[in-house]
Point group: C2
């Protein structure tokens, strides 16, 4: 807790805190179990809610009899569609009701709900509800769903296509005609589950006057209120969201229907109600990844220059729409700021199916498309006889380029990450001295840091830094720490900008009643958009502290600096006061009003034109190169990841520990997707809805992960930084697929790359 002296802090490098290895802000609470998640909270008089879910993938509801459930002692409320506001709503498409109206569209759809004094009673009451269904013909895959005569899931979309994204630049046909090499293939990125530790949970409480408080592990606490208010027929102002610790989200924890059921039960009973998904409910009715199949063609000159890309995508939306349309468009065109391709075409359809609704998952469509593109590039490199790394460098975007969709790439570290990763992996060596059944594969990715197209009313972020009377500071903002370490970065940025010590900055939990409207955690936006706002707030606080100190000591502001909690006189480097002394002087002079810095950041990004899709959506763009080194057991088809190398253009290393953690987490999650994870669904029913049957990587399933960073010091990033969350996962599947091809010569184009698929492919190879 010692304050350093002025000479020491002034003569440190450019930054006092940025780039240092600091402990995560919530490390102690989380590792001791003291951190409270929604599941842990208990309000006085709280009831427990349970949801009756559809057992059929597609069926009409003929009648619901809740009489016996209502009679069960301890049951306080039983609700069905008629007890809801009966308003159609949805985050993007109004195809939700809080409880099913006339029919159900997927196994797990919410049909009725109960609040009771304990979970057992609630569960028993659910079993006492009788629903008569009439099964309807169902359709489970996008391919079947777009066939003429397929069962219609939403009458408003008679061909089952809920969104159809098209974009075209240049002259694609001509480019393909004139190309030296045209290569194409089909790829499939399957449906996977986010496997966050904390399942979906909500506590709702009504004040009896139409105001709701929701305790939610939400990635988007401010925005959620908009959709929920519409669903409930109230105003966003009537919903307060408090966000305790969150046990991971990875895209899933945005709008979720059970929250609204919880809210209705709380309103009905006048008591707080908690609903926590069982893990099985979370698998069967969560928000898994949008499964996508791609038909991708590329055209090259023989020197490797990319001439054209033609992408057809078909994706499964499930029975109602979460964020599928935006994910579909991302899959179709985000990747076009990775390599310079003058002629582009994409045509993506998102299709209703009688399966669980699909939603956001780290990578948001770009992860799916990257699997296809980076696999096909590897195939092209072989055809062209060009080193895969070379081929990518040749086509990569560079600093100051603008993509065909108007995205301004202020800095691109792509070529540098290829260089760094291949160096680290000993790429050339290993390529030259290939060992049997061992292989090495490379894949690249790009990503945004924020997405101006996601929420049209605004983009940006804001923060308030409150410096209290003993020098402690609280950062109040609306962005959402969900386990990614965002609060740690924010505390570092705030401390650096304001001249405080890292340990003196706390980040307040999000409370929409008090804090700014924050868009939240998606699009890898937290560090860049939130971070810029935090720096601005820190600078504003520093400016006020300097002004206060200047008047306290009658020294001009220019002759003062504040570093690590100490006010120093320049150029003498003598200590004038602590920040605590200056802040309490301010507070006690100002009727107790704390010294606060306010920071606003509004990026100069552009909402993409709805027709042309042109518009620079992100202030900075991230790049990365991953290299997987694998060994394949040709007897069993088992893949062992020996080493994994990830090099990321992060703009500037703010929090090295956090960056490493994010990349390692992304790689492990990507390895799970690449090699083992799959929501196996038969007739709309998830067959493996538990962690016994749905395997995610354990520590023995991953090799050594080598993480390195390229600093491009992007002028638009906070102290030069870029986002990290999603790019850490995007390229993993392709890197692994390419390595397997390198190891044993088989190309698996559908995820996950199971031993069975490898064995089958090996058999096929041998037979040739």
């Amino acid at each position: 807790m010692r304050l350093r002296d002025c000479k020491e802090v002034l003569e440190m490098s450019e930054f006092n805190i940025i780039g240092k290895r600091v402990p995560q802000k919530d490390a102690v609470e989380k590792s001791t179990g003291a951190a409270q998640y929604v599941t842990d909270l208990k309000l006085p008089g709280m009831l427990y809610g349970k949801i009756l879910r559809s057992p059929y993938p597609h069926a009409s509801i003929l009648c619901i009899d809740t009489t016996r459930a209502k009679r069960l002692p301890g049951v306080k409320s039983v609700i069905t569609f008629s007890d809801t506001p009966q308003i159609k709503f949805g985050p993007l498409v109004d195809d939700w009701y809080i409880l099913a109206k006339d029919k159900v569209r997927f196994i797990g759809e919410e049909v009725a709900a109960v609040a009771a004094v304990d979970e057992d009673t609630a569960r028993e009451a659910i079993e006492l509800i009788r629903v008569e269904y009439e099964e309807l013909p169902a359709v489970f895959t996008p391919g079947e769903a777009i066939q003429p005569g397929a069962p219609i899931i939403n009458p408003e979309y008679p061909n089952n296509v809920v969104s159809h994204f098209k974009v075209e630049r240049g002259d694609v046909e001509q480019a393909f005609r004139e190309a030296d090499l045209v290569i194409g293939d089909e790829f499939y990125a399957n449906q996977v589950y986010q496997a966050y530790m904390e399942s979906m949970a909500c506590i709702a409480q009504s004040d009896g006057r139409g105001h709701l408080t929701l305790w939610l592990p939400s990635q988007v606490p401010s925005k959620t209120r908009m959709s929920y208010a519409k669903a409930l027929g109230i105003q966003p102002r009537d919903i307060r969201v408090i966000r305790p610790h969150v046990g991971g989200g990875f895209g899933a924890k945005m709008e979720y229907d059970a929250d609204l059921i919880c809210a209705l039960l709380a309103t009905n009973t006048g008591r707080p109600v908690k609903i926590v998904n069982t893990r099985m409910e979370d698998f069967e009715a969560g928000n898994p990844r949008v499964p996508m199949s791609f038909d991708l063609r590329l055209a090259f000159k023989k020197d490797g220059t990319l001439l054209a890309k033609d992408l057809k995508a078909l994706a499964g939306n499930g029975g109602r729409t979460v964020y599928g349309p935006a994910i579909m468009s991302t899959a179709c065109y985000r990747i076009d700021s990775l390599y310079r391709i003058p002629n582009l075409r994409a045509d993506g359809r998102l299709v209703y199916t009688n399966t669980v609704p699909t939603a956001c998952f780290r990578g948001f469509g770009n992860a799916q498309a990257t699997f296809a593109l980076e696999s096909l590039l590897d195939m092209a490199a072989h055809e062209l006889g060009i080193e895969p790394a070379e081929l990518r460098i040749k086509n990569s975007f560079n600093n100051g380029d603008t993509s065909p969709h108007g995205w301004f790439i202020s800095t691109s570290g792509l070529a540098d990450t290829i260089e760094q990763a291949t160096q680290a992996a000993g790429w050339n060596d290993k390529k030259r001295n290939k060992t049997t059944r061992r292989g090495i594969g490379l894949a690249c990715t790009n990503h945004v840091s924020g997405n101006r197209g996601f929420y049209r009313p605004f983009d940006g972020s804001s923060a308030i830094l409150r410096v209290g009377e003993s020098g402690q500071a609280v950062l109040i903002q609306g962005e959402a720490e969900i386990g990614q370490g965002q609060n740690t970065v924010y505390a570092m940025l705030a401390a650096e900008a304001a001249g405080l010590r890292y340990e003196d900055v706390t980040v307040a939990q999000v409370d929409t009643l008090i804090g700014p409207f924050g868009l939240g955690s998606f699009a890898s936006r937290g560090t860049v958009l939130g971070g810029q706002a935090v720096i601005a707030a820190g600078k504003d606080a520093k400016r006020k502290l300097l002004a206060e100190a200047s008047s306290m000591f009658n020294i001009p502001v220019e002759k003062l600096d504040i570093r690590e909690g100490v006010v120093c006189r320049l150029p003498e480097q003598t200590k004038m006061a602590t920040v605590a002394e200056v802040a309490s002087h301010y507070m006690f002079r100002q009727g107790g009003c704390p010294l606060t810095g306010e920071g606003v950041y509004v990026p100069d990004t552009v909402v993409p034109d709805p027709v042309t899709k042109i518009g620079n959506i992100s202030p900075v763009y991230c790049f990365a190169t991953h290299i997987a080194e694998v060994e394949v057991d040709t007897e069993t088809g088992q893949v062992k990841v020996l080493n994994y190398f990830a090099s990321h253009d992060v703009g500037k290393i703010l929090n090295p520990v956090g960056l490493e953690g994010q990349v390692e987490g992304g790689v492990v999650q990507g390895l799970g997707w690449a090699l083992m994870e799959d929501m196996v669904t038969v007739n709309g029913k998830v067959q493996n809805p538990t962690f016994l049957d749905y395997r995610i990587p354990g520590v023995r399933d991953i090799g050594k992960i080598h993480v390195s960073f390229v600093e491009t010091n992007d002028p638009k990033g906070p102290y030069g930084a870029k986002g990290i969350g999603e790019p850490a996962l995007n390229p993993v599947t392709a890197a692994v697929a390419n390595a397997i091809y390198d190891a044993v010569g088989v190309r698996i184009k559908s995820l996950p790359i199971t031993p069975e698929k490898i064995l089958a492919a090996l058999e096929h190879t041998c037979m040739l």
Copy 2:
């Protein structure tokens, strides 16, 4: 929820909201039972604490054996003095330890404490602790305690006098020599209990890194942290106080030792701990009123002009010091701004006794002194043959006067309240046509609205008004609603100043992590000091809303006004937008940063000089006149209050419903004190520590209460207003005593005026 139109809101009277009868902000929660108090809260893994208290009034502790308690299953921590930080502390005098060190000084003093999984186990463990005491000679009354040779309670104060307040103005001796009438007598204001509905309660939680969160029903959430940090050997920054609903305080809920015990148990166990006083503990070891005896002399000219006052006071501090010294000084000199008395002397001693420590209670010493002064004035009026009302008007301070202690009385409505009360009561009529056994009595009072001497580092208040994207506003401040309706007044002031609707303003619960440092609820300061800050915050918000609207519509600010949530164009009186539209425009233009108004109020008051005691401590001064009309049963001594008339100079009526409630509450509480309430203590042991034995007035014990107000529109008050909390109680005891004298000719000079005392006095009267 309808918004009015511009013509309507612009053509309302000066104020849209002020002066209206609005529902209290928390009326629904409180009346439905939904409001959560500390007692209602339950944290995950929470333990229950119990305190072992001394059974002796004065004793050495020879040894404490906690072995058996620690062995009891379910017990998680047992602490004694050696487990505490062993730091001496106290709000004013450092004579506290968290747990008793070598000796106990009153029955109920905290000796050891336990945290266990439930209350029964904690209670059982307490019973298993063995303490060996050696009784010491004890002293129970201030009169005995100041005798030479009396047992010494605190060796640092060898004559048991913990504070001795002296003040003198003019030439008192000469004035008494030259007076036409000198009158003097002794009066006694007894020890009473605040009888709030919610007993003392605390939940403490440690984060394992030295930071504590306390959920406290505190009147002074920000300031409490200062004393508690000292006691715990940590920094105020390490303590966060969250204040849920509070079930009344009346002065008692400031520093309280059990909160610190709770904090230590939470730190020891790493789990949240709750301690809630039983009602008996609350009686025996709460913070009751400082009992005071007065020897008061007054000197008059025969025309009634007051020449001099000579006051000697002796007060009981109990076994350790809470706020007694400040209460003593208040009793000695606050009343000197009620009537012009050129020659003044006061000599007050606060004395340790082996009884429960005494503390703040509505009126803070002034209530005790008012009983003496207003009783003696009534006696003097009879001696002088001057109407009691006349006598007071003759000597009253007027607008613009400065008291002998330098208090600037910008406005005084004293004479007007006398006029209003006597009119309402039919005073002259009833005096002329006196009925047997019925009587009418009058008493006046003055009070502060804030006290610059209470907390020397600063005075004032500040507030932040956050106007959200749908026009809802949240007021963030650090003052403490404890049931008095302060949040309602603040919401009215904020709405009025900002141009919002009352129903659109919410007042956030106090959280010291987020909000301003607020001094809290004492000295009737909330409305004036907090209110001025709230108005300033509202005006700042309005200024920002107008600027935003001006730029939205390209209309100069001067041509716009905002009233009740509507932005109007002047002079056309046409509606341009709603506040919601302007606020969301601002927010979405500013990266989600809400439009906030910041308000600071620092009154031009002065810390009294420590030697001369001169200094204007309050921005405005309150005045009131009460008239009691009683009937005395001469057979039983029972007093029936027939009618009660209270007229208050409130400066300006902000919230009529709240004002009426405060006055009615103060009168009822005063009637309890006057006629029935008494903490009967024998050898340091409270004999009536339950509501069965300690009677407070029920609805059948009070007569009809008639409340009226005088508006002096004080230029220093918020929209002209003054405080109300304490003046509502101050004069009740004297008004009742004077009425009883008027009814049956007996003068009871010691509180409470029980039937026994009246009967005894009547007997004495008859014998003469």
